[in-house]
């Protein structure tokens, strides 16, 4: 389990804008091991989708590196970049806009083979696509249908089949189930989980739904305003969170059990996430944090193991909350 397939170092993405650069991702470090699922959670605007795009080379980082199996892909161009993508694929959020409505399912899932000709199995593209349809739980007979003939959950399966086509080692899923109905979500989550076991794929699973992320992830990273504020095993993050933001985020998630209604200690955060175009100095969470001290504005807390936190956390006052 120790071999690292994906390594991200000091990754930064700034988008220029009239009111100064938008700091979408601001110094992210992470690694993904073979066969592991890393969940990335955070609210809208925290930079998780920008991070995903940089991982698969759809967005060029302002600074920092993304390496797949030791090879740095963030500076590659042209053919070399294309070849590197074979190993890291993506599943997108919206199954209605991420599939070309004018292409048949066969063409959509087979397109990776058209781009990477040498990766086409010897028995031909057609059979390969049929096989993929079967793997994701769709009928191989549907190869000539168009996306609109499928439901949302089925379309997401098509997207997953496309990502699987080249047998990548890594799949980055950006909110893969948030557009789906609850009864269909479970089908897709189970599918992803099964594929991971079956092919030993490593997954980056990005979502805003804390419960879904816990269910599928081995490790979890929590993002806030372009930075990872806490990272650790799913038990560490969900049962012993030490960052105030993680604690607030978890306490805000409604649990489907009315008996817990008044027993859960809810922390309600005031206000909104500050603009990434003008992030607060020091700790970015301090403007909404109940623990904030003057020092938080001056010294940025680093993501590291601390006296009262057994896993890396970016807070000067990190500790396990008494009751959650």
């Amino acid at each position: 389990m120790s071999d690292v397939v994906l390594e991200v170092r000091d990754l930064v993405k700034h988008f220029p804008s009239r009111s100064g650069a938008v700091h979408a991702v601001d110094g992210v470090n992470l690694e993904l091991r073979r066969g592991e699922t890393l969940g990335i959670v955070g609210e809208s605007g925290c930079g998780k989708s920008t991070l995903a795009k940089m991982l698969v080379g759809l967005e060029r980082p302002t600074a920092g590196t993304v390496s797949v199996r030791g090879q740095e892909i963030s500076r590659l161009r042209g053919g070399a970049l294309r070849r590197s993508r074979r190993n890291i694929q993506m599943v997108l959020q919206d199954p209605y806009t991420s599939l070309n409505p004018r292409m048949t399912v066969g063409d959509i899932i087979g397109e990776p083979f058209a781009i990477h000709r040498d990766a086409t199995p010897t028995y031909g593209r057609h059979r390969a696509v049929q096989e993929l349809l079967e793997v994701v739980g769709l009928s191989p007979d549907h190869i000539n249908r168009y996306p609109h003939q499928f439901s949302g959950g089925q379309r997401q399966r098509i997207g997953i089949a496309r990502a699987l086509a080249l047998r990548p080692e890594i799949i980055v899923c950006d909110e893969p189930v948030s557009a789906l109905d609850v009864s269909v979500q479970a089908q897709v989550i189970n599918l992803l989980d099964g594929l991971k076991q079956r092919y030993g794929i490593s997954l980056i699973f990005i979502a805003h739904d804390m419960s879904v992320v816990r269910h599928i992830s081995d490790r979890v990273a929590v993002m806030y305003l372009g930075k990872i504020v806490e990272t650790g095993s799913d038990v560490a993050i969900y049962d012993q969170p030490t960052h105030p933001y993680t604690q607030a985020l978890l306490s805000a998630v409604p649990v489907a059990d009315p008996r817990l209604r008044d027993r859960r200690g809810q922390i309600t955060l005031e206000g909104d996430v500050p603009s990434p175009a003008d992030p607060p100095s020091g700790c970015r969470f301090r403007t909404r944090c109940w623990k904030a001290q003057p020092a938080c504005a001056e010294h940025e807390p680093l993501l590291e193991i601390r006296q009262r936190s057994a896993h890396p956390v970016a807070c000067h006052f990190a500790e396990v909350a008494q009751a959650l």
Binding site: D181, S183, Q185, D193, P254, A256, D257, L269, D272
Partner: protein, 342 residues
């Protein structure tokens, strides 16, 4: 202000002792080129003052269409109410003239929507839109209306309300915009508030703020709240009673504690087992096979039978009646005893 409400009390046939709201065998269908979509097929529900009724269902279950029929804002055509009654204090709203209906809307029953950005008018300031309600419905002067608008924004806890009334909807964040919409819905002191997925588009920390605000305002005003949602977590947090909808029918109705501990309908049961939960980490989620049926071609008998683990022959033949299984508990399933395990 109160005199206008009093004047409205002469709505013909109004009975203050009748249910605050009672939806009785409501049927709605959409007539489209592809056929008739039966969106609501005999829905029954009722609401008391101060109570929160959660209407739970997936997309296409008919929950929003039911709400729109109660509000009288269905697009006709293609939508047609083909049967049933919507009784507000004993008055059938479906039989009122459009002028009378307008008096009920916002004054008696108000609604908030998922997407505040498209529910608010982008070319008028928030203050203007709020004040307009007082000027139109209450005949207030501009000055008084503006004062009331500021007061309302204060009540929904928008910081700096005095200045922010001059802002346009796009200048507010998602959470703040939702507060503006709540302010607008509550402006005329309605007795019933229908909230259609009010927090679905929001982040969890903001969702928590909004749900807390709604609960407080509801309590202050002893308002009946119909919360339409697909989120079983939100429901567990705030609802008193739940109506679970599937394919245009209420398949189960129960007090909140009963439904989570002992669901009586196979759909409710399967749904509860299929959601990942923060406090439980299982390896495999229970899956409901298949998809909700197309509304243009509903299965015979019980609409859920093709996906149901309990289904037997009778289910594809006879539509199950609504069994009263306990006071306030109703479930439409032939095998309700089996599902409950009795």
């Amino acid at each position: 202000m109160t005199d206008i409400k009093a004047e409205m009390d002469v709505l013909p046939g109004m009975d203050p002792r009748a249910h605050l709201l009672h939806v009785d065998e409501l049927h709605v269908e959409f007539r489209t080129r592809d056929g008739v979509a039966k969106a609501v097929n005999g829905v029954n529900m009722w609401l008391r003052p101060g109570e929160t009724l959660a209407v739970l269902g997936e997309s296409g279950s008919g929950k929003s269409v039911t709400a729109q029929a109660i509000m009288g804002i269905l697009d006709t055509p293609p939508a047609h109410v083909t049967g049933g009654r919507v009784l507000y204090r004993g008055v059938d709203l479906l039989k009122l003239s459009e002028a009378d209906r307008r008096k009920v809307r916002a004054n008696r029953i108000a609604m908030i929507f998922q997407d505040a950005l498209s529910a608010l008018n982008p070319v008028f300031t928030v203050g203007f839109q709020l004040a307009e309600m007082f000027r139109m419905h209450r005949g207030m002067s501009r000055r008084d209306a503006k004062a009331r608008a500021i007061e309302l924004l204060d009540q929904v806890r928008i910081p700096g309300a005095r200045d922010r009334i001059h802002d346009y909807p796009h200048q507010f964040s998602g959470g703040m915009r939702q507060r503006v919409m709540i302010a607008m819905a509550l402006a005329l002191d309605p007795e019933i508030l229908i909230a259609d997925e009010p927090t679905t588009a929001l982040d969890v920390t903001v969702q928590a703020q909004i749900m807390k605000l709604l609960a407080e305002l509801q309590q202050q005003r002893n308002m009946g709240l119909i919360l339409i949602t697909h989120d079983m977590g939100v429901v567990a947090d705030v609802a008193d009673r739940i109506s679970v909808m599937y394919a245009g029918r209420v398949v189960e109705e129960a007090p909140v504690h009963d439904i989570y501990s002992r669901p009586a309908h196979p759909y409710t049961k399967a749904l509860l087992e299929s959601i990942p939960r923060l406090d439980r980490k299982g390896r495999q989620l229970n899956v409901i096979p298949g998809l909700p049926p197309p509304l243009t071609d509903l299965p015979s008998g019980c609409s859920f039978h093709p996906r149901c683990a309990y289904a037997r022959e009778i289910c594809s033949r006879d539509e199950p009646p609504a069994y009263q299984i306990a006071p306030q508990r109703i479930a439409s399933c032939h095998f309700v005893r089996e599902v409950l395990g009795v």
